[in-house]
Symmetry: C3
Subunit: 259 residues, 3 copies
Amino acid sequence: MTDTVQVERHDDIVIVSIHRTEKRNALRQEDWIAVGDAIEALGDDADLRCIILRGAGEEAFCAGADITNFEAERSNRRKVKAYERATDRAFLAVRNSRLPVIAMIHGFCIGGGFELALAADLRLSGESGRFGVPAKNIGLFLGYHLVQYLVDAGGRAVAAEILLEGRIIAADEAVSKNLLTRVVPDADLEEEVMKAARRIADGAPLSHRFHRAALARLADPRPLSRVELEAQFDYADSEDYMSGYNAFKVREKPKFQGR
Amino acid sequence: MTDTVQVERHDDIVIVSIHRTEKRNALRQEDWIAVGDAIEALGDDADLRCIILRGAGEEAFCAGADITNFEAERSNRRKVKAYERATDRAFLAVRNSRLPVIAMIHGFCIGGGFELALAADLRLSGESGRFGVPAKNIGLFLGYHLVQYLVDAGGRAVAAEILLEGRIIAADEAVSKNLLTRVVPDADLEEEVMKAARRIADGAPLSHRFHRAALARLADPRPLSRVELEAQFDYADSEDYMSGYNAFKVREKPKFQGR
Amino acid sequence: MTDTVQVERHDDIVIVSIHRTEKRNALRQEDWIAVGDAIEALGDDADLRCIILRGAGEEAFCAGADITNFEAERSNRRKVKAYERATDRAFLAVRNSRLPVIAMIHGFCIGGGFELALAADLRLSGESGRFGVPAKNIGLFLGYHLVQYLVDAGGRAVAAEILLEGRIIAADEAVSKNLLTRVVPDADLEEEVMKAARRIADGAPLSHRFHRAALARLADPRPLSRVELEAQFDYADSEDYMSGYNAFKVREKPKFQGR
């Protein structure tokens, strides 16, 4: 099939890299499927605590869809629907992963590549990061949920700007619009991302799961059920809560088990 | 009636100017009606692709309601309701225009003037821009949808600050709160706005229409219908999508038709 | 009981201070109850127009829960539920107060202390402000509404970062993420907060009440009823609206009565 996606483990942190450097890591349909496959599989691994998603090399995170495959993959409605099933699966694998996901961004992060980063929980970028959604230049529509990803990070007005102007903006401007978590010099990016991943991986998995589920649930304004409200206290019955407190008392770092 | 509103065409871009420079472009009831009329009429013009809304001169975008007409227009509940019908129609004409709208801001952008700018898709300001909603100083209420415009740009906490403190803030602070798209030196504002308008006007009209409708639709959290979900792929049947791709292949600029 | 909470009136502005400086103003269950009691009682005082909430001293606003009381107060589900009833009542007393609330922040503003600040309408911080929610370090869950407070200020992506990384961030970073209203040098904080409180206290109480209620109501996407839409014009019948206009005409400062 494709060897576009490579997976590298560092203890309880895993780095997923997109390798199509000759195309600025732009993806074909089969590559989107491979990304979805990889992220889904890792979510089932009980030994992992955090996923880092990056582009290989330092020129691009992902330049979006590889347009050279356009005739084969996207030249009519039927093909477009099949293509977007593949891209959506990748976006949703990231968004709904059992594990927190950090996007680590060098250079181009455009179109579907930007959306992939927006699907992640955190977006750390080097100063080389370049962001934009040029859909309007080719007459494409972004699906509703991809528009929502922009709103979730930057708010409605920023989403309107990104979609209507279609400008490519630098990392500094993107972070000022809340589209990124933070920006560091490219030379420091890898270390900064590993630190963030370590903070996440050292946290209680049940806390991360509850907080990420709460953020998703709060997008639905219907009142919380009694069962949901009661579940807010489930941590009190967990082993990790007790060991977290005991470690705190003796100023040690707790080792959480996720139960 | 009123010659407050002037319209100037530049090919497929149109500039709508508010001319009451002797009043910092503050508006009477008849002027609000004229603004609504002008924006509505332009939205029906098939040759246009983008509206720029500005105040005449460089002292003010619009200082809001002309309070000197208070006795005649706003001194009791009946008058207030008629007055707000006129202002709301102007806000909604901008918000719901068939065309993207850019607010081009020099100087005072206060009260109803600020809301008019917030109703637009983009807000580009010179460094002279001054923003605020002093409703609390006179005992006014902003209607729900105007409160929502503030939330749409800056989020709930920023909206609370603007309404409760009623401070007049400079462009730099406003952009840091995401209330503006960007700020440039006053001398560069016109050129920067024309560039943004050109980017929008050169984009596929169907893309703009879908993305703007999606942003409005996503404010309603009810699940998308199958018809709505299917419409996400309508671009695949458009002539513009094909010409957009063909132009991309040969590295030319597409000429979109809006179909 | 507890003398943790002290109240100091300055005309129509009241300063509520949390006094546990030996614990960086971290709170026990009884202290949370005292905070809720104090804020609730002040909300019923017709002579007041604005509440300032601060930590005593300049080392901390509030470092959150006093963990040394953990065994007695939070070591099982039953205790946790009783404890969170006390904390929630404090958060909701601030959020739902009849009066606007300003959080005035020096130093540590962590966990429940940060949430208390987020429950307020405005957050003014000195440069010494330090912010974070380290719940994941001990295996706690933040309740849904506390997650929502983060979203209300910074948006969903910022909330995810704060909860997942659990980093302690400085005031400058917090304001860039819209988690704070503004940051000033510590030496200027008291004066800046008093100015903001004065602006609020001088505003029409009915305007503040409507705008704050509207911000809460707009979190519910159901359509506004005709009664709610009509209430947008209630100001037109108020004495304060007339006196606000009359004061404006003669360039004097109105004295609002709240009716």
